[in-house]
């Protein structure tokens, strides 16, 4: 009896330690990560980031703000044109619960129908930070009709790693004109079991290798844009190269706080460096709300999207502020007004390898909303 009990206990412990599922190896299922949309010259991608619905959020007020972002974008691109894809690049939620998730997805489904777009959702660090099971959240994204999303039972680090190939005929077998790589840049981790602090996560080497293989499948010369949540070390490297080593990279917009990247060389990501060799044209992220600084870093445009909506925190930008970072930001744009650094970003893809980037600053004001578009 004792032996049987011990045997059962050992099996249970082994199961517990290893987990119940054996994940498949990503290389054997590369096609499973791929979605396709029909490409056209002037394909518009609206990036919304760090929406941060949380326990204190008025979802009615937040939806009203998002309504204005969609309306302003539709006006900007003009009639006869449309938003093709919305990239929601992480931290949709934080300290949220199932009510927030269902309300959020109902809202996005309604807007997707109204404007005729699909939307892709990527995990941010705080999307894990809620009163729901992460697997349940994945299921909700999977079930939403207009949501492009993948979370496979694989051995690839992270959850929302997937590809959207923009093809001539809108099918995965058609010729790819542009590729959109979506990566989960994780949340955080402890360096040891007793570390008092956590490090922000980073794009792991296996994720870079995965994208390289997905890219090779459609042809190594296909231009790619990547979306993920947490900036990697490259943003800071580029900033330091300009400000400390007099490099003359094209750069624009505001950097009013740190990039909140991992910051430890030991955990540096190779994604941008590898991407540079393989037609990665741009990488857009979120995470640091007071930053939308964008730079052309040796051929790859790296930039943080404008934080969407007023949840959690955002920067009040003032012409009176003598902070050199504020003044540098103002010097790079074409207006000098007091405003809040919230809104959205839009990328428009063109034939060849060209793309346009615009940042939208949208502030709700009692005297009339503040709406400004600034070109890259």
């Amino acid at each position: 009896m004792k032996t049987k009990f011990l045997l059962a206990l050992t099996s249970l412990s082994a199961l517990t330690l290893t987990g119940c599922n054996s994940p498949f190896h990503y290389e054997e299922h590369l096609a499973d990560y791929c979605h396709a949309l029909r490409y056209r010259d002037g394909f518009n991608i609206l990036q919304l980031t760090d929406i941060h619905w949380n326990a204190n959020t008025s979802t009615i007020a937040s939806k009203r703000y998002l309504d204005k972002v969609f309306a302003a974008t539709a006006t900007r691109i003009g009639s006869g044109n449309k938003i093709d894809l919305v990239e929601v690049t992480g931290d949709q939620f934080m300290l949220a619960n199932t009510y927030h998730v269902t309300t959020f997805l109902e809202y996005f489904e309604a807007k997707a129908q109204e404007y005729g777009f699909s939307y892709a959702v990527i995990w941010g660090n705080h999307d894990r930070h809620g009163l729901y099971n992460p697997n349940w959240l994945s299921d909700q994204f999977n079930k939403a009709a207009h949501c492009i999303y993948n979370d496979l039972e694989d051995d690839l680090y992270g959850r929302s790693n997937f590809i959207i190939n923009l093809t001539e005929d809108g099918t995965t077998s058609g010729a790819t004109k542009w590729q959109i790589a979506n990566l989960d840049s994780g949340a955080s981790f402890s360096e040891t079991a007793v570390s008092p602090f956590r490090d922000y996560d980073y794009i792991r080497k296996d994720q870079t290798q995965w994208w390289l293989k997905e890219h090779a499948l459609v042809g190594d010369t296909v231009p790619t844009i990547a979306y993920y949540h947490i900036p990697q070390q490259d943003n800071l490297e580029a900033w330091n190269a300009i400000h400390n080593n007099n490099k003359t990279y094209k750069h624009k917009f505001f950097k009013l706080e740190g990039f909140a990247d991992n910051g430890n060389r030991e955990y540096a990501s190779d994604f941008i460096a590898e991407g540079r060799k393989h037609h990665l044209k741009a990488a857009f992220m979120g995470h640091a709300h007071n930053v939308d600084w964008t730079v052309d870093y040796d051929g790859v445009v790296i930039g943080l999207g404008v934080k969407t909506g007023p949840e959690l925190y955002y920067a009040h930008v003032s012409t009176e502020d003598k902070d050199p970072a504020v003044q540098e930001g103002y010097a790079s744009i074409d207006f000098k007004e007091i405003f809040d650094l919230i809104g959205a970003s839009m990328v428009t893809l063109h034939d060849g390898e060209a793309f346009d980037l615009q940042h939208l600053y949208l502030n709700e004001r009692a005297t009339g909303d503040f709406v400004k578009w600034v070109n890259w």
Binding site: G19, A55, R128, H129
Partner: protein, 336 residues
């Protein structure tokens, strides 16, 4: 062996409860049930409040005090909901361990007024918020679909609870048929330290109970995180378990039996909490990303500075409780 343990620790003769008769027995059971239900409600409202609080702290540390103030004003009913529930637990505790009719009267009056005030302010605050436009609808949504309507309904219930305590204190106090002098008096010198210690223990127990229960619903037990998930649940549930043993076992013992039981109980608690803490850190070492990838929602206060400390406090608190009580017990024993 089993019989010996049962005789030593669970003999009916050791406890106060069997000495109660008739109505006193029924009242005691009813109050104990009320206390447990109240504690569970307080635990969940505490967790809910921590969610709002953590977001507000996040706004402050990120330099957006204006957002923090707006969030606090919107979520004030969530905070008040916890306070009215917690004060109800305090009132029920006064009932359960009523040391004398005078003390019970004082406690019920004080807590009854506090509960009614918290509940009344909640109702008025939401109505005022609707008129002022702070809430766009009575069921505006977030953190629940019915918020702030649900806070108002909850507050109405607690107005009744508060009024009941006040009326009971005024009209029926003399009819309470039992007095339970089961807890030794705390000397004046140590009262401050004792209250601080018990308050922190209670707060961790409140956090640990709802956290431990939530673990089973929100943890990703797949993807190799199962060991970590189980250890977190155990770590969370230890504080409320210790509180349960302390209140419903240790304090239920007769005076002379309590001294006998203290050291074996605390040694057991120390071993259990030490083992759980050790296994927890082992499970963390096996998956260093587990806290943020498998159930980050369990650590509302951990996010603001990306620290791991909240997790560690939860694990270490039962250990600290055991050590403190052990030291206290050893000192008492050495004094004879």
């Amino acid at each position: 062996m089993g019989e010996l343990v049962m005789k030593r620790f669970f003999d009916k003769e050791n406890f106060l409860f069997p000495s109660f008769e008739g109505k006193a027995k029924k009242q005691s059971v009813a109050i104990a049930v009320g206390l447990i239900v109240g504690f569970i409600l307080a635990s969940f409202t505490f967790f809910n409040m921590l969610y709002c609080f953590a977001d507000i702290v996040g706004s402050i540390v990120s330099g957006s005090a204006d957002v923090a103030i707006a969030d606090f004003l919107r979520s004030l009913p969530v905070f008040l909901t916890f306070f009215m529930t917690f004060w109800t637990v305090l009132a029920l505790q006064a009932f359960f361990r009523n040391l004398s009719p005078e003390k019970l009267h004082r406690s019920l009056m004080k807590n009854g007024i506090a509960i009614t005030a918290f509940a009344g302010v909640t109702i008025v605050y939401v109505i005022e918020g609707l008129i002022e436009g702070r809430y766009l609808k009575i069921a505006e949504g977030s953190p629940s679909a019915l918020y702030p309507l649900d806070s108002v309904l909850y507050a109405v219930l607690f107005v009744l609870v508060g009024v009941f305590f006040i009326l009971y204190a005024k009209k029926f106090i003399k009819k309470i048929p039992y007095v339970v002098p089961s807890r030794g008096p705390v000397c004046k010198k140590a009262r401050g330290a004792y209250c601080t210690f018990v308050t922190f223990w209670c707060l961790f127990a409140l956090f640990g109970l709802s956290g431990g229960i939530f673990t089973f619903f929100i943890y990703d037990f797949a993807h190799g995180y199962a060991f970590y998930g189980i250890m977190t649940a155990l770590a969370y549930l230890l504080s409320p378990c210790f509180l349960l043993v302390w209140e419903f076992y240790f304090n239920e013992l007769k005076e002379e039996k309590r001294k006998e039981a203290l050291l074996p109980l605390v040694t057991g608690a120390l071993c259990v909490s030490g083992l759980v803490a050790a296994l927890y850190f082992l499970s963390l070492a096996l998956g260093l990303d587990a806290p943020s990838n498998a159930g980050f929602g369990m650590f509302p206060v951990a996010f603001s500075a990306s620290v791991n400390i909240a997790t560690m406090l939860t694990v270490v608190t039962p250990l600290v409780v055991s050590v403190v009580v052990l030291v206290k017990g050893l000192r008492a024993k050495s004094r004879g």
